[in-house]
Amino acid sequence: MRCPECDGEIPLPKDAIEGEIVTCPDCGASFELYKKKDGNFDLRAMQVIGEDWGE
């Protein structure tokens, strides 16, 4: 899967699930995995870390 930011190769985990965060090893950008209508995964931009995010 190609990184929308830098076009680097983002390896997908074999057990990838929808909603999972993946990070580009080249540029460090993070994306959320989602399933398209055809059942294949694609990447969408993650929300920038929210002020209320955390543990």
Binding site: E20, I21, G50, D52, W53, G54, E55
Partner: protein
């Protein structure tokens, strides 16, 4: 399980459920559309584990689920308290649990007065937030006033001046994972490169921490003080013994599992099964 993003923890919980033959449905809170006077409980089942990264999203969704009779881990009142450092401190003080001296003010001028009473250095923390974000070490009056001035131009939440004494401690703190008022695993979070903060998100190193009776007792009390469930209790080793400085509502354990070898995701699923009965 409701979530907004799947981190290592959510995936591990999902895998642990599969191993136990449990049908754990994953619901993305970002897709939720609830008509509040409808019977939406059917799509969530009878027990929900709340794992949203966003505190406000988590709190509001939990309220809506509990209103329909669904058991949510952690409960709304637990999330409300443990997700807010001021409410946590008040709960710890009420329960007689040692915690750093803390002051509350609402203006820069009164915050300076609080600092005069606590002494320098002190630590300014947002009441809501994690990972050491916007936590500032106030070394003297000049640096404090400069930071307070910045806060005055931020969202009103940051004008709640929650200030704690700076506790003399080794360059580490202790993160205990507490499930159902029992410590199941603990790590030291050792700060590196001279950073005074010990958050894993800031590069601290995890080391195994023995679960002593003192640690077990204080963490169990802290868990009960905020209402129990699945929690990350943070302690500091002060010269006078352990102090609880934070209780985390949606605790992360990505570093605790490999360091301690404890199957925390499995224990979480076991706890959910117990709640369901």
């Amino acid at each position: 399980m409701v979530y907004d993003y799947i981190r290592w923890e959510e995936k591990a919980i999902s895998d642990a459920a599969k191993k136990r033959g449990l049908d754990l449905k994953l619901i993305d809170s970002k897709d939720v559309s609830l008509l509040l006077d409808s019977n939406y409980e059917e799509e969530f089942g009878d027990v929900v584990i709340q794992r949203c990264l966003s505190y406000f999203r988590s709190l509001h969704l939990t309220a809506a689920l509990e209103a329909r009779g669904i058991s949510v881990i952690n409960r709304f009142d637990v999330a409300l308290t443990a997700g807010n450092k001021l409410l946590t401190t008040l709960a710890l003080i009420k329960a007689g649990i040692p915690t750093p001296h803390t002051a509350l003010s609402f203006t820069p001028e009164s915050a300076v007065k609080s600092l005069d009473r606590l002494g320098y250095p002190a630590v300014l923390k947002p009441t809501i937030g994690s990972w050491g974000r916007l936590v500032a070490l106030l070394k003297d009056r000049d640096s404090a006033e400069a930071i307070f001035e910045d806060r005055e131009h931020m969202f009103p939440l940051y004008q709640v001046y929650y200030i704690q004494e700076y506790v003399k401690r080794p360059p580490r703190d202790i993160r205990s994972i507490v499930i159902d008022d029992r410590v199941v695993a603990a790590i030291y979070r050792v700060s590196l490169s001279g950073n005074w903060k010990t958050n894993m998100a800031l590069g601290a190193k995890a080391e195994i921490c023995p679960i002593t009776k003192e640690l077990e007792d204080i963490c169990a009390k802290a868990s009960k003080a905020v209402g129990g469930g699945i929690l990350g209790v943070d302690c500091m080793e002060s010269p006078d013994g352990l102090l609880v400085h934070e209780v985390n509502n949606t605790t992360e354990f990505k570093n605790t599992v490999p360091t301690t070898g404890v199957d925390i995701p499995g224990l979480i699923i076991d706890f959910l099964i117990k709640i369901r009965k």
